[in-house]
Symmetry: C2
Subunit: 106 residues, 2 copies
Amino acid sequence: MSDTPYFKHHVFFCMNTRDDGRESCGPRGAEQAQKHAKKRCKQLDINGEGKVRINQAGCLDRCEHGPVLVVYPEGTWYTYVDTSDIDEIIDSHLVGGKPVERLKIK
Amino acid sequence: MSDTPYFKHHVFFCMNTRDDGRESCGPRGAEQAQKHAKKRCKQLDINGEGKVRINQAGCLDRCEHGPVLVVYPEGTWYTYVDTSDIDEIIDSHLVGGKPVERLKIK
């Protein structure tokens, strides 16, 4: 952990859609949320090396909390309901460095 | 960083295939490598909460080093050529806690 991370905050959105009837993040707005986050970070000019990367990911195996995302290297896990929650995570955590306690999952 | 991470090592394989002719990880064996890693971690019984998670990810934006993967929360980036490199990353880094210097990218 001594090196400066390539991305200051690397955000992974679970995009998985289960086809076995179990709950999953995909049908709960993950794609829209991820696109929204990517667009907003570009608008804020916080994306890129040394800054923020918004990524798609396969199943993060926390389906029961879905939709979920995780921010590394902090390892902070979030759930969200809509894009206003995503905005709060971006503004408070990614820009301000202050995690959003009400959306965190353990 | 004070909390114990949900996954001790969370590994993301870039699975992206570019359709614009530029280099990308997908055509360089990313899918085979990710499946291999997932299977091997299951065989070693190191996958799951508090242990290792092998994930697929969209473009990690380091195409020029592809194929690439990143291990969090350490933030260690690797390139690899084949599944023997993947085995070395699993055995040395994920099991032994010792990064594989020769495969690291900055």
